[in-house]
């Protein structure tokens, strides 16, 4: 039997301290927490940085390190620093070093890195070892050079290597959300279907319970399946909250692909043990022929400058599309003559269809509209220049030449806001490996 304590869905999100303390009292075998996701967009992988504030991460990580010291079991974090790039791992290692010094702890820390070099990825691509997943973008050799960061998602095998070092703390780069939870139960011979299914149910902390904000849950894995026990006040796991979690951020509600195989929960059964705990059995793990890991990559696509202007004049609100279309044509022509071809201008209509665009079939316009001008160009300077050429149009452009020059509302001076580099995800592929550790690097530090 293996008990995994999951403090919350992600480091930086916060958790109920009493629930964490209750979890420690249950004598877990390991404390596992996720450190990231792609869900906040490509900026973080593009830059190799964390979404959460360093102070928040340090405060929560310090508490988890303290909990680990008390429980005397390993503490593991996956997808460190939001994106799991090597720089984000180093960032968390630095924070860990600071806390160890401040609290007088001596620690053995295993660091698992998932970053991939463009040259290695090009060789793998040319050797036919990189294959597209459904809805993958088309790629060629050059894409790997364009990426500022490429990571491979580690599975249970790589985490087990890290745990086998006997480390007090494992700081991992990009991993699947589930692998940090399933690794130890699998290593100790628990039911494989149950290990992966329990890991999927637990990866968002208490989200699979009636009180998602309480954060902490304990999952007990055994030879047939798993049992989920929420640690928070008023948090209950029910067969419905648990089975419904397979729907969450997952395109297929029955199947979950992982390195080395897939989880099939079609035959799983969910039994309420009491008001709070649910036991799950019947989940199946199907081993794949080859060993694949998923790749993620982000590349820089330009630099952006945005401007915001508010339109309140009813006649302009009524003809806002004509107004924007005329500005886009006139401003683009002027900027091309004065600068270069390599830029784009988009005017997005907040209050009309800014959220859904062409997919909005139920548009209702109110008394005002905000126009978000988005300029993208090859450099920040060029993007600023184009945005400054756009400025007089947003301020004064008339609907017709016969009318007095209008003036619209800018909330800020200057109205241009530099967004910096813009990134996009450009890989949705898998990499075939001979051996699970082939694309990963493990290092043990004494802090």
């Amino acid at each position: 039997m293996v008990r995994v304590l999951i403090p919350s869905g992600a480091l930086g999100l916060g958790y109920d301290r009493a629930a964490l303390a209750r979890g420690i009292d249950q004598k877990p075998d390991i404390i596992a927490i996720d450190g990231g996701s792609t869900d906040s967009g490509p900026h973080y992988l593009g830059t190799g940085t964390s979404k959460y504030s360093r102070n928040s991460i340090k405060a929560e990580w310090r508490e988890l390190m303290q909990a680990r010291a008390e429980a005397q079991v390993p503490l593991i974090i996956g997808t460190s620093g939001t994106c799991g790039a090597d720089s984000a791992v180093d960032w968390l290692v630095d924070i860990t070093r600071e806390i160890a010094a401040e609290t007088g702890q001596s620690l053995k820390v295993a660091v698992l890195k998932s970053g991939q070099s463009s040259s290695a990825m090009k060789r793998a691509y040319q050797a036919g070892k990189i294959s597209p997943l459904p809805a993958a973008p088309k790629i060629c050799d050059a894409i790997f050079d364009d990426c500022t960061n490429i990571v491979a998602l580690a599975g249970a095998e790589q985490i087990q290597e890290a745990l086998n070092t006997g480390a007090d703390i494992v700081i991992a780069g990009r991993t699947t959300d589930t692998a940090i939870i399933s690794a130890l139960p699998l290593l100790r011979g628990c039911h494989a279907g149950g290990a992966w299914h329990g890991a999927k149910i637990g990866e968002c902390g208490a989200l699979a319970t009636t009180n998602p904000n309480s954060g902490t849950i304990l999952i007990e894995f055994d030879a047939q399946g798993f049992t989920i026990s929420p640690m928070g006040d008023n948090a209950c796991a029910t067969p419905e909250t648990v089975s419904a979690h397979m729907l969450y951020e997952n395109a297929d509600p029955y199947i979950l692909f992982e390195p080395g195989g897939y989880l099939d929960v079609t035959q799983a059964s969910y039994l309420a043990l009491d008001d709070q705990q649910v036991r799950v059995t019947g989940s199946e793990w199907v081993v794949s022929e080859a060993y694949y890991v998923k790749l993620e990559g982000a590349r820089r696509v330009g630099f952006q400058t945005v401007s915001l202007v508010l339109i309140r004049d009813p006649r302009y609100v009524a003809h806002i599309r004509d107004w924007c279309a005329d500005i886009e044509i006139k401003c683009t022509t002027k900027a091309q003559a004065r600068i270069a071809d390599d830029f784009s201008i988009e005017l997005r209509l907040i209050g009309v269809d800014a959220t859904l665009g062409d997919l909005d079939h139920d548009i209702q316009v109110g008394s005002e509209v905000a126009v978000l001008g988005i300029v993208t160009a090859a450099t920040q300077n060029l993007s600023n220049e184009v945005a400054k050429i756009l400025n007089p149009y947003l301020l004064h452009h008339p609907l017709s030449e016969q009318e007095e020059m209008p003036t619209f509302a800018f909330p800020f001076s200057p109205p241009e806001m530099q967004r910096g580099a813009a990134y996009e995800f450009c890989l949705n592929h898998v990499l075939t490996l001979q051996s699970p550790m082939d694309a990963f690097r493990l290092e043990v530090l004494d802090l």
Binding site: D39, L133, A136, A244, L247, D252, L356, D362, E424, N428
Partner: protein
């Protein structure tokens, strides 16, 4: 005409990774689940998103009274043209679909 959002209490849209969108239609009661399974055509969903029928995956999960719809994201998450980083607003497209 009745729209899906008029009679279904909760529809949730989420990213399933940067390249896929997944939308859960929580019908709550078995009666409503059966009714929506019959009245919501997969073709109308494809039309609502302007994509081919084959691109829409549909799962009818009786135990949860829930229909799950998954499709390639209308724009890849975070590209220049993307308007909704977390993909939550695409549920509004589904709410506006007319039932047969």
């Amino acid at each position: 005409m009745t729209k899906l959002g008029d009679i279904v209490p909760k529809i949730r849209s989420k990213n399933a990774g940067p390249f896929w969108l997944t939308i859960d239609i929580f019908c709550v009661s078995p009666e409503l689940f059966t009714e929506i399974c019959e009245r919501l055509s997969t073709q109308s969903i494809a039309d609502g998103f302007g994509i081919p029928l084959q691109a829409v995956k549909r799962f009818e999960i009786q135990d949860l009274n829930t229909i799950k719809i998954s499709l390639p994201r209308p724009t890849v998450q975070g590209v220049r043209e993307d308007r909704d980083m977390h993909g939550a607003s695409f549920s509004q497209v589904l709410k506006a679909i007319e039932l047969r």
